[in-house]
């Protein structure tokens, strides 16, 4: 009887302790590992070369939380160059990213070591103190200020001018178009000439009509000009600001949709990607796309189309590379109706990290290293980097994947018009609400007046602190 009691007591205690022990053990093991790693990490003669590379032999472990696969490629390259380092890269969808970082860092997690952000996410993340101050020793980021394109350098600063993140890329927007279709329909494939077909919204509609006459569609979705829309920020001095360019963009989307000038795919959906690779069916009511025979028959009867153009920032080369399939080599890039830009991955060090020195080596490797960035240009098939020495070197680079077009010179020209003062922390919600208004009008769910009023109401409800003049 006594034995039974003792056994049950021990069991109960074990159960309780195991609960508490789970967390405690983890952290203590982690801490132990970290200390071990910290002693082994990186610092054998930590002298930097002029180009930001470190002459030290690096070792240790890093955890990177990022928004897309690009940093995974950088991490692989980093491990190749520094076999003693193990980098674990976790890709998190942009919609979930800020929340995940917030939960981890506010919970005191020591990992991730490297965190990133897109420009519109950065102000909140800087305010929350998630990013390490890179101006202080041993980083002394300000020493590299003249090596990075000015606007990129500034986007990585908080409101007190402290450097907290750096991006390896600049992100001007352009129009990726099919050279073969251009030649057939417009008799030329010259980027300058094709750019004229997109010079303003009225011309875009005319271009769309002409393409439709030849059995093509100008865009896959009606939101392709989004990166070029809006002349001024959504919020100016605490006031909601809807400029004329926003209304013009709204009208364009409605017209493209209602006149059947697109392939009716949503941006980032499977049919949208599919349209990069070639034919997509023109989806009329009597085409059963799920019946292979019927689809093939429909294709014979020319009930299919090809999409002429996609509006994307310079990192669109990565999207193209992964999706253009058989249309590889048939693409060109030209200017859009205005200067535009979008996204950009800004890399920084988590303020909670216990491996900051190694993390800084990784940041420098991705953003301030000639060899890495030259490799990246080749690997990405022409992504445009923010590191000035490599930019200058590649100014006359002829991109074989884009008909030997001088894509670098093109993107650099577009980048001159980038105005990052247009980025505000309100962009996501206000942009989504404007998009919802456009959809409601184009599909006939609401009148223009109703939809715009609903837009104002949504913004007012979400951000009561903003002044709204209708």
């Amino acid at each position: 009887m006594k034995l039974k009691k003792v056994v049950s007591l021990i069991l109960a205690l074990t159960l309780c302790l195991s609960l508490a022990a789970c967390g405690k053990n983890d952290t203590s093991t982690n801490a132990k590992n970290d200390t071990k790693k910290d002693t082994t990490q990186s610092t054998k003669g930590n002298e930097d070369n002029a180009d930001g590379t470190s002459s030290a032999e690096l070792s240790g472990r890093l955890v990177v939380w990022t928004l897309a696969n690009d940093l995974k490629d950088f991490a692989d390259r980093f491990m190749e160059k520094h076999p003693g380092v193990e980098v674990e890269t976790i890709v998190i969808a942009p919609a979930d990213y800020p929340t995940k970082v917030q939960s981890a860092l506010l919970g005191g997690a020591k990992e991730p070591d490297i965190i990133v952000g897109e420009p519109q996410m950065l102000p909140d993340m800087f305010d929350a103190g998630f990013f390490e101050d890179l101006n202080q020793a041993p980083y002394n980021a300000q020493d590299y200020a003249d090596k990075i394109v000015d606007y990129v350098w500034k986007v990585g600063q908080d409101e007190n001018g402290i450097q907290r993140a750096i991006s390896y890329q600049i992100t001007p927007a352009g129009i990726f178009y099919r050279r073969d279709i251009a030649k057939e329909v417009f008799g030329t494939e010259d980027p300058e000439e094709i750019g004229k077909l997109f010079k303003d919204y009225n011309t875009i509609i005319e271009t769309g009509k002409k393409l439709k006459e030849h059995g093509y569609r100008i865009f896959a979705s009606d939101g392709e000009m989004n990166y070029f829309s809006g002349d001024t920020p959504w919020v100016v001095d605490g006031k909601l600001n809807v400029d004329q360019a926003r209304y013009d963009y709204m009208d364009l989307c409605i017209e493209l949709y209602q006149k059947d000038l697109t392939a009716f795919a949503s941006q980032w959906s499977s049919p949208w990607y599919q349209a990069m690779a070639g034919e997509v069916p023109i989806l009329t009511a009597d085409t059963n796309v799920w019946d292979e025979e019927e689809l093939a028959k429909a294709s014979e009867n020319a009930e299919k189309t090809e999409v002429f153009a996609f509006g994307l920032p310079s990192w669109g080369v990565l999207i193209m590379r992964d999706n253009y399939g058989e249309t590889a080599g048939k693409w060109g890039i030209c200017a859009g109706p205005a200067y535009g830009f979008g996204g950009g991955t800004y890399i920084g060090i988590s303020s909670n990290s216990e491996r900051k020195e190694l993390a800084w080596e990784f940041v420098k490797f991705c953003t301030l290293n000639d060899e890495t960035l030259e490799w990246w240009i080749e690997f990405s098939e022409g992504d445009i980097v923010s590191y000035i020495p490599v930019l200058e070197k590649y100014a006359d680079y002829e991109n074989p994947m884009y008909g030997n077009q001088k894509t670098y010179a093109f993107w650099l020209k577009q980048a001159e018009g980038i105005d990052y003062s247009k980025v505000t922390r309100y962009d996501k919600v206000i942009g989504d609400a404007w998009g919802a208004a456009i959809t409601a009008i184009k599909t006939g769910q609401m009148s223009r007046e109703e939809a715009i009023n609903q837009f104002y109401d949504t913004v007012q409800s979400t951000y009561p602190e903003l002044i709204i003049e209708r």
Binding site: L19, D124, D127, G129, A285, D286, W290, A433, T458
Partner: protein, 316 residues
């Protein structure tokens, strides 16, 4: 007398031994419930109290906490989009529960019919329950594909059958999108309700049904006079749990509409999507906490009302 005293003494000693034993056993039992209590305190009680505290602040998820009294609660109650989201939730759930319970009840009647005993109940039960086992993300993706305006199989089927001439934008129209969500919910949960109702019906003595049949009662009479009244506790359980789950509806409409805006035209924005928008997209954590408490109070009121409704009927 001595004997009596001895017996009395022995009784007292035995009682105190029993008391001691009882106390010891209780203490050991506390250790057994301790793990649950710890988990409950950390993961249930603490978040609930912390949310209440935050609902009186302008906390952004980081930085300092400023107390602003009832301002968040006043803002929630004044915001038409909160009421719209609540209306959307009620609309979607209302249609869902009618279809879900209706279907489950119909199947229960069919499978319990005393004359036509259907074989293979366990197989059917498993089949009906299957949709519940599919991950919600998969269900959302499946229906998004099936109900797609231009690509969707559902439209192609209707056109082939000659029921419609042009494809219907099921998920893009304000007139149809909420009810597509209702149907998805009903499809996912009717199996669960069916199992519960079957268990309820099988708990009713067969004698009642046999006696009623002998007395000449028809199916409808048996259903309304025997099955339904005796099923009331189970029906109460199903509707209360469904109402609580319904008010907390999030994943399917969020995934189908592709964000917290609840497009088309906000018709799919449920109360929890509204909460999520403020808590996780715009970092107004204090405000989102107040929304959470108001939703909690609404769930409480709805549950109490449902209990009252059913117990009153029972009293009659």
């Amino acid at each position: 007398m001595v004997l009596h005293f001895w017996a009395y003494q022995r009784g007292q000693v035995m009682n105190s031994v029993k008391k001691v034993k009882k106390r010891n056993i209780n203490n050991v039992a506390y250790l057994f419930v301790l793990p649950f209590v710890i988990v409950f305190l950390v993961f249930n009680v603490y978040p609930v109290l912390r949310t209440l505290q935050l609902s009186f602040t302008s906390y952004k998820g980081y930085g300092k906490i400023d107390y602003i009294g009832f301002a968040n609660y006043i803002r929630v109650l004044k915001d038409k989009f909160f009421w719209r989201a609540l209306g959307n939730t009620a609309n979607i759930w209302g249609v869902n529960i009618i279809v879900q319970l209706g279907l489950a009840l119909l199947l229960t009647i069919v499978f319990n019919d005393i004359k036509y005993r259907i074989k293979g109940l366990s197989i059917f039960r498993a089949i009906f329950y299957l949709p519940n086992l599919i991950a919600t993300t998969s269900v959302a993706f499946l229906f998004k594909t099936l109900m797609d305006w231009r690509f969707g199989t559902f439209n192609q089927l209707l056109i082939k059958l000659g029921l419609i001439d042009t494809p219907v934008d099921w998920l893009g129209s304000t007139k149809t999108a909420p009810y597509v969500i209702s149907m998805i919910g009903a499809w996912m949960w009717f199996g669960n309700s069916f199992i519960l109702l079957m268990a309820g019906v099988q708990g009713i003595s067969r004698d009642y049904f046999e006696a009623a049949t002998i007395d000449g009662a028809g199916r409808w009479k048996i259903f309304t006079k025997i099955t339904m009244p005796l099923l009331r506790p189970i029906l109460l359980y199903v509707t209360v749990t469904s109402a609580i789950g319904g008010i907390q509806m999030f994943d399917i409409p969020f995934l189908v509409s592709g964000g917290t805006m609840g497009n088309p035209s906000g018709k799919l924005q449920t109360a929890i999507m509204y909460l999520y928008k403020f808590g996780f997209e715009t970092y107004q954590v204090g405000y989102a906490s107040a929304v959470a408490y108001i939703i909690f109070l609404i769930i409480l009121v709805v549950s109490i009302l449902q209990f009252r409704l059913y117990t009153r009927k029972e009293d009659r």
